[in-house]
Symmetry: C2
Subunit: 220 residues, 2 copies
DNA sequence: CGGCTTGGCTTACTAAGTAATCCTAGGGAT
DNA sequence: ATCCCTAGGATTACTTAGTAAGCCAAGCCG
């Protein structure tokens, strides 16, 4: 019998498929689980075979950040800048939260890839055509991105994300003997137990505040 | 002859000295160079001896973040909140830039240590006694910290930091064939060549904007 | 004075990145 | 059709890193 190519003929494994699988692996098991051997296994291939498509692991780490940035919704040219920036910020936050390992790699990447450049260019384009001066467009872009990145960092570093979970975690951290050393944290904790707290609220507050202030300051 | 203790009797190596040396090593050679063996060598000790003071490397990584947070100037109770927050933000930025590896670890640490808790508590205290409601104190703190963290991330990920260096780097990235794909980046680049550009300006702009807006919105 | 504790050392195992080299099937060019 | 080249994958093995297990000396206490 002609040996029919068994089950899946295994598509030829491109650089992009490597990145894609790496993102999935990191999402599923964390960035620490992203090893060349495991990634190879994920693709049905030996670790060393990956080196036919990337020069080293650094390149994979840079590559998956690019993949993530590429997932961020970018505004269409004509859109109202405020709404466009709001949607973009929300999209960026959502994407970076979904791939929570990405934020920690943003600062580490060696070179800025074409996807990241396109991302920045598109934002600047929207602001420019909305009437922002060059300087103010950079200001607005930089400030908004700083805010989003920092928000994601804080969300991720927080052991909790809503007042529900806070109960247990806050207890173990705060009521653990030294509660009197952090009076204001205790106050916050108690307050959070009553009212509905979540990091979403913080994001909305900051985003509204920044957009509003930019509208007043930077549209000259 | 009585064997006189040769040269330096080597102070007894505490948990704190381990962290301190780890910070120095990471500052000097990067976080990647922070290995147990090298850290041991730095302290005149074998790698395994470190495990008498820390349970594993994770603990060191968490510990050095705490050391860094502890370096951030924290406001005295009575100070004017706006000035206090400005100084704190500037200090945080300076410290995190000086230890540029720290920002990438903020999100990864397992537990929030006492230094970090004290840091947060002190900020909240200042805002509360300046008249902020609980909710608004959290808003202000969260927003300012987001901004600072994001600023540091962007600074660090940028291959350059002032218009001086931009020339060479921007050239290699932008003029590299595909310049027409990023018209607005090119525009920015050209503009930056003429005027004096630096990330310091972005930081000042954002900080002023946020403080001003907080003053108007959150002091109720 | 003898055992215990504390802190450092030695050895050795496992996992990970990757260099070097080999193997094989498919695809042209002759 | 044949031959050879090459692209893409496999094998092997070396190096570095984290860390488990157990050894040993020095001081301290009873």
């Amino acid at each position: 019998m002609t040996p029919v190519k068994d089950s899946s003929p295994r598509p030829p494994l491109t650089r992009e498929r490597v990145f894609q699988a790496a993102v999935e692996l990191a999402d599923r098991d964390g960035l620490g689980a992203l090893t060349m051997r495991r990634l190879g296994a994920e693709l049905g291939v030996e670790a060393m075979s990956l080196y036919k498509h990337v020069t080293n692991k650094e390149e994979i780490l840079d590559g998956i950040v690019e993949v993530v940035i590429g997932e961020i919704e970018t505004p269409r040219e004509g859109a109202d800048w405020k709404e466009a920036m709001r949607l973009r910020a929300m999209s960026a936050r959502e994407v970076l939260s979904r791939h929570s390992w990405a934020i920690g790699r943003l600062e580490a990447r060696g070179s800025t890839g074409p996807v990241a450049l396109r991302y920045v260019d598109s934002i600047l384009g929207n602001l420019r055509s909305a009437g922002f001066s060059i300087e103010n467009a950079v200001h607005a872009f930089w400030l908004l991105d700083s805010f989003v990145y920092g928000q994601v960092i804080q969300e991720t570093s927080l052991p909790i994300s809503s007042s529900k979970e806070m109960t247990e975690s806050a207890r173990s951290t705060l009521e653990q003997g030294a509660a009197d050393d952090y009076p204001h944290l205790v106050e916050i904790g108690q307050h959070a137990l009553k009212s509905e707290y979540s990091v979403d609220k913080e994001f909305e507050f900051g985003l509204d505040l920044i957009l509003e202030a930019l509208d007043q300051n930077a549209m000259s």
